[in-house]
């Protein structure tokens, strides 16, 4: 089994299966997971769906680099990042991060670190599609840029 995996895909994923996959290492006492979902508001109200675009090749590299950075800071036995692209209706999962460690604190911190850096370094772009059919690209948030400041 690959301990550190990155996947970019259109299909849905099963968080339970992914968590379970990292839950059979006798050295791991902690598995933390984060699910990011399509919400009904973003830059505007009445969001019906997101369209996710990415830069194939660079995305996977960037995600592996972020995992490497996390491994240098915390003791991690395994980690999974799955990010979906394409058309994602309201309520569906966009992203999954799972971290496994001997200790809870490392697993929590690494999961948050992975999400903070994914949001600012991995080449994904969201377009919001509203209920009236109009669509616009989401603007990058200063708050996401600030979020990585605390890890430096």
């Amino acid at each position: 089994m690959q301990a550190f995996t990155v996947r970019v895909q259109q299909e849905r994923f099963d968080s339970g299966v992914e968590i379970d996959r990292l839950s059979h290492n006798p050295a791991c006492g902690a598995v933390v997971s984060f699910n990011g979902l399509v919400r009904d508001y973003g830059d505007r109200q009445d969001v019906a769906a997101l369209q996710l675009e990415h830069y194939p090749g660079m995305t996977e590299k960037a995600l592996h680099t972020i995992i490497e950075q996390a491994r240098q800071r915390w003791q991690l036995q395994a980690a999974t990042i799955i990010h979906r692209v394409g058309h994602l209706p309201l309520g569906e999962a966009i992203v999954l991060v799972v971290t496994a460690s001997s200790h809870r604190k490392d697993a929590f911190a690494a999961a948050e670190f992975l999400m903070d850096f994914l949001k600012t370094e991995a080449p994904f772009w969201k377009k919001e599609i509203l209920r009236d059919g109009s669509a616009h690209w989401v603007e990058a948030k200063a708050s996401d840029q600030h979020a990585i400041g605390r890890w430096q």
Partner: protein, 83 residues
């Protein structure tokens, strides 16, 4: 020298293309941007100094003073918004 240039998200829509091959003498990212801005309209507007966009060379983020080589893959895109 020949570059493969990729555009993503808002820039792809605005320029009406996702990629192009460009024969250029630009020695740096900065010089390439100057050349692209000369196309006018959306190009000069989207790539204006002070506009928020990022440049990657061979799939690594680089600064504007980064040098260019024959066959490089250059991507120009807005700040990322995944997650």
């Amino acid at each position: 020298m020949k570059l493969n240039i990729l555009y993503f998200a808002r820039l792809k829509d605005s320029f009406g293309m996702g990629s192009e091959q460009l024969e250029t003498d630009a020695a740096s990212v900065d010089e390439l941007l100057t050349e692209l801005r000369q196309r006018g309209d959306n190009w000069s507007c989207e790539l204006a100094a002070g506009k928020a966009f990022r440049v990657a060379r061979n799939q690594e983020l680089v600064r504007l003073d980064a040098t260019l080589g024959d066959g490089d893959e250059i991507a120009i895109f807005p700040p990322v918004t995944g997650g």
